[in-house]
Symmetry: C2
Subunit: 303 residues, 2 copies
């Protein structure tokens, strides 16, 4: 059964087998509240690595004490390294960032010898949005990590997006490669890469996954706009997922969806051996909970 | 009185002095319907240059026959050149594209000897959006023309945006320079240009116009997000206008606003000696009418 919206996502969390989360410096209100909510819904175990929640926030966790471990460490770099080590030793299934600088967490995650990114793999950000009035979840990349993807990086982005869609129960993901127009042109190198990916998909090299582009944001998801422009596309304006040409475009999309279209959104890093939830300052409990749940769903996906 | 929304814009059209529009190949339903609506509201005169509307569409224009001129020409390049000539001879105040390829229209507009772009000026696209739930119009650039603006081009974009805001009655336009984060960094050259513009504005070199950046789409327009992130900005999350780092980002914003946030939008070319309304296939009557009205409002702006 595909996960069609965030209500389905929450329900699916309750059906997952045991998931073990390591959170680094999980001491802030929204992180602890999100974890408490996930503990109440799913078969989750949580290791708090580094600084420990206290006061009222600690009380939130009391009902789940038997599924919580504490690994107190004063230094945030050390905490990050320890959490990464838990994953490498098979004692945690995924990671979540608390009150630690993203740069410091990523240094541990990306460490060549002791980190979580296998050689030759690409770290990228995958987000999923539930937009009021839009009939399905919308997955996209990359609003946070790679400024301007190379051809190889983009192919990996498509691969991760494909896998995340499949983890959400979409059997034949429809992936749109976004550009400001539907014309491929040598003046815009990404569109040449797009044609290669679309052709490979047409030859069946991506299994049941349908990839097409260049398409703009609208012709990717709006069959009416596609028909009006008279553009043929195997996606038929029904994209499940969008690959943006660069970080600036993806980030503009992310912020515009959340503020102007009132979307709820979740996000995580992919490419690492397990998903890493890296929320940003200002993300609320809901966003962190949804990100945690989305990450938990994708753990079994072969990375 | 500032124009705060598209109802105000329509009302302002009725108060403008005479405006003379030249439309090139104005034969399609939405272009003719938009012009008929503008004729019914404002003190507009229209020259139909090139192919002429016929049948039911011609009937739409019958009530305004005394304000309509016909200059029939069979060749679309010739029609474009003639319309441009009308502006150069002081017989038309602005242009609108009908059923003609944008490239062909732009060739005439950009012609070095006989066109409408003075030497050293920059052609750019300015759009204005009315977003449900957002309390003011939002102006932005450039979703259609310049792929990656140079420092000089960006400064001109800010200048046009400033002037369009003022034409809409905003005395002290607040202009945000958009990036995916609020940090300026040499890794992202646009952010270095942004700092220079912000500093010049802080020194009072832009009159009452307040310019700040880098800001992301959200911290530009959302005081709550700005406060949560703890970022100081003279815009205080109240931007009237957004300058995007590149065309991909601006176009993603444009399409996302229109489809997911259900915004109504108008757009025009600036930099030329008069505004040029260049709608795209699939734009409806409403969009073309609003674009025509927005362009009519900005004619007296010193270009």
């Amino acid at each position: 059964m595909p996960i069609r919206n965030f209500t389905d996502l929450e329900a699916s969390l309750s059906r997952l087998p045991r998931r073990r989360l390591a959170v680094i410096n999980g001491t802030d209100d929204s992180t602890v509240s999100a974890i408490a909510r996930a503990l109440s819904v799913g078969n989750l175990e949580v290791a708090f690595v580094g600084a420990q929640p206290d006061g009222a926030l600690a009380t939130l966790l009391t009902p789940y004490a038997d599924r919580i471990a504490s690994i107190p460490l004063a230094d945030e770099d050390e905490a990050a390294r320890r959490a990464v080590e838990l994953v490498r030793q098979g004692e945690a299934d995924f990671l979540m960032k608390g009150l630690i600088h993203t740069d410091n967490l990523l240094r541990a995650v990306l460490d060549k010898e002791h980190g979580l990114l296998p050689q030759g793999r690409v770290l990228t950000h995958v987000a999923v949005a539930e937009v009021p009035g839009f009939p399905r979840l919308l997955f996209y990349t990359d609003a946070a990590v790679i400024p301007v993807p190379s051809r190889g990086q983009r192919e990996e982005q498509v691969r991760y997006l494909d896998r995340v869609c499949r983890a959400f129960g979409i059997d034949r993901p429809r992936i749109a490669l976004v550009h400001f127009t539907e014309k491929a042109s040598e003046k815009f190198p990404c569109t040449m890469d797009y044609r290669l990916l679309a052709e490979a998909s047409a030859r069946g090299e991506w299994g049941g996954t349908v990839i097409d582009g260049p398409l703009d944001v609208r012709t990717a998801v709006d069959p009416v706009a596609l028909a009006t422009k008279g553009i043929p596309s195997p996606l038929q304006g029904g994209a499940d997922a969008l690959v943006f040409p660069d970080l600036e475009a993806a980030n503009a999309f992310y912020k515009t969806l959340s503020f102007f279209a009132r979307a709820r959104q979740a996000g995580m890093l992919q490419g690492t051996v397990c998903p890493v939830v890296v929320s940003s300052r200002g993300d609320d409990t809901e966003t962190k909970f949804l990100s945690l749940a989305a990450a938990a769903c994708t753990i079994d996906v072969k990375q």
